[in-house]
Amino acid sequence: MTYVGNKADLKVVGTRPVRPDGVDKVTGRATFGADFNLPGQLVGKVLRSPHPHARIIKIDASRALALTGVKAVISAEDLPNIASEEAFVGEGPMNFRDLSRNCMARDKVLYEGHAVAALAATTEAIANAALALIDVTYEVLPFVIDVNEAMQPGAPLLDDNMYTANVEPKPTAPSNIAKRVHFKKGDVAAGFAKADVIVSGTYNTEAVHQAYIEPHAALATANADGQCTIWASSQGHFMIRAYVAKLLGIEIANLRVIPAEIGGGFGGKTVVYLEPLALALAQKSGRPVKMVMSREEVFRASGPTSGASMDVKIGATKDGIITAISSEMRFQAGAFPGSPVQPACMCAFAMYDLENVEVTGYDVISNRPKVAAYRAPGAPIGSFASESAIDELADKLGMDPIVLRQKNAVNQGSKTHYGVTFPEIGYEQVLAATKAHPHWSAPLGPNQGRGVATGFWFNIGGESSAAVHINEDGSVSVATGSPDIGGSRASMAMMAAEVLGIPVDNVRAIVADTASIGFTHVTGGSRVTYATGMATVQAAQNVVADLKKRAAMIWDISPDAVDWKDGEAVPAGANAGGFDPLPLAAIALKAGRTGGPIGSEVSVNAQGAGPGFGAHICDVEVDPETGYVTVLRYTAVQDVGRAIHPSYVEGQIQGGAVQGIGWALNEEYIYNAKGSMDNAGFLDYRVPVASDLPMIDAVLVEVPNPRHPFGLRGVGEVPIVPPLAAVANAVSHAIGIRMHDLPLSPPTICAAIDAKG
């Protein structure tokens, strides 16, 4: 059953109903991670390293344990020592050894804020007082923060056994370079030889945080029989189950994870921090333990994404055909390997149909918190470099930057530099819509500039489970394993309603816990509406088939002679018999007499996610005396395949664009000379506020993905890819100086203007 070709026939998909969980969320009733409580629960707190790099000589908790009300203290010695093992449950590959040591430092602390010990006490005040009574003896070690410095021979080493992977021959000395990635297509030297124009430059970005407003929170219990439960907000309760079970050596069936509402994640809640500690403390104390991070802990100890230093060189003929691209990307991974340098190397140039391209990436550890996924991991960073360089090329060629992109755009059948050949994609349609948008030709005033940039994300599918149940009265329940981070209950209910041919208000969708639905991968990578949606659609289709069978039974005709139309069973034709339509509710009422409850659970490993492309136009005005940037107008165009709930699709695009604007203008991790983060709070980690912004015009282009019943593509990641370069290109045009370094904060812009004189 496919609906791709007939949008006009869709009754629910493409409409804008109120989301099923909406009223809970506007009345304060929705329960987020920190809103759960259990009788007798203790307050858990983490003791964190004040040093960016130090050997742990001794941890003495005797004074803390002597304090009345302190029930348990743990450090790495109380947790299993996990061997190196690669897993893929979160939003990127994860080494369990690193994950374990990130949750609780073993032998060495590798960044300021690294957990050293944790404790549980009867009150918050006692817990805080007890933290100060844990005596840790450190041997302070030299540290390194900057990625380029960390790559130098002689830099302080975080891991004496790290030899750069994927380098032949194997390096003879350890370094902070965990891995090299390399993509090559064609002959770059020959390509540059054919170029009439070459641009090259080095681009730098700073580490930025996902900055979800809800701090991490977890509540754990451990029963005497070994059965454990965790309540937590995350992007994947099955991820929590998998990671915590592994880290603490618990059989998976003995660990149930109940998803709380999640107050934003953007990739940052695809890993565990507090959950294993809360459960270990619960095991040790025999009491439920609740742990909530402070905002400062969120900044110091949970995943930001990488800062990077990147070289890009592009050659083109004078009529704008790109002949070669070469690039090197050096990414901060934080204290353990795992930066998104590989997807950065892939996404940065995926918009261009290239003959000759060579991209090398380095995954580099330094004394910073371990990076976590952040919306289209790596792509915004790499694309800042590539899309700035393309803009500079357009300037040099005197060519409209959209026309330059159109001349080199990938299309169906284009083979990327990383080896994939694109299926049906909508990049050309996006470029055409962007060029045709009135914004592109609107006049600009003095000190104003316009920038355009494009972006790509793979979009992914993967493992998802969904159940659709017909209730006795004909209403419908949908349960999935995907935490609802931005309206997925609505899209699941809508897709089920569409297949069942009933009003969406008759369908209620929930997020089921790990014991109540099949395994479901994290909410991330723009996969949920696609993959969990596919499971939901298939389950609904199974239910329709069953409903037809039940009607056939009631009518005593062959199931083949029954059609399903607008929520009713109808005879397939005149020969099937002259029966009145049987509405879903009527069949549900008789389910007990036709075979019992009607429902279906489907687990899929969805393939065929449609690649996503977007293009953003940004207008800015720069105060030439202060370097202050005002974003005047912003338009974001994106191929969304097909919008299930257009309001939430627009919302994803608007939100992604604004995160990107923040990244471009003011967000950054600022380190002082002691290797300590200087701005671990919302006061000086400057996310955009409402008064900083104009409305964000989200333009939906719909090039359906034929591999999904409704033609949809993931939408959440793409919109954060173009803004960094779109803003930087706008600023560069406004001041007449090519800007290479983010953030484009006023002192940076002022310095550039003053240097030019």
């Binding site: 007082a129 202060t626 202050y628 003011n666 400057r686 904060s745 002022c750």
Partner: protein, 290 residues
Amino acid sequence: MSALSYAAPSTVQDAIGLLSGAKGIAKVMSGGTDLLVQMKMGRLKADLIVDTKKLPGIFGITESAGVFTIGAATSGAQLGEHEGLKAAWPGVVEAANLIGSTQVQGRASLAGNLCNASPAADSVPAMIAAGAVAVIVGPNGQREAPVETIVVGPGRTSLAKDEFILQFRLPARPARSSDAYLRFIPRTEMDIAVVGCGVSVTLDAQGVCTAARVALGAVAPTQVLVTAAANALIGHTLDTATLAAVDAAARAACNPITDKRGTIDFRIKIAGVLARRAAKIAYDRAGARA
């Protein structure tokens, strides 16, 4: 468990007595928007909080013969709603209204902003430029001191342990007199001033400045009263040469640091820019109050 005491006295004498008799660290609280953050972040460990908000005279705005008296704990929101004060002292009100968010405006006060003794406090350069006087109460009675004498260094004031500010006074305004405050922040809201500048001027009928005060914030350990910038204004209309002189005088008065909010060079440059721009607004406002 808790060692922290709280008192909300209803007389000034009781408040002074509590402060005089306190063992350990006693903190005077009005809006609390800085104090609570410092306690939460562990930067301050107090033993006693004396909440001033029940004291007579601590809230409200009154005018007598052109002199405004402002209760020390009067919130920014209340200042912004007082049409008379806004007309007479638009610079003071706009500075006070820049402190924090709408939510913070519901609580934050002039006394708190001043006694928190941050070099970046928004209301302080405007109050200094305005020639505001703090009415201080203590065991020896009441005394008055110019606002610029209160802060002596980051986090430090000239108030004794058992003194606090009860009210502020703004002097009577002559005709053709007004003020302005500008600050520079990287966003539109929610940031601490990278540089702040308050300017108050009085003009004659020809638009020539007859009196001026200029104060800068966030460019030195305390707010700076820039007499040279004021002197550059006095005797002049706001022509190009005067603007350049004000800019230069403001820059010369800076002794800033490089930190997470700005560099030395940037702060010095912006001080000059803001001094010029604030002077322009103050002149325009003064000219409109003929």
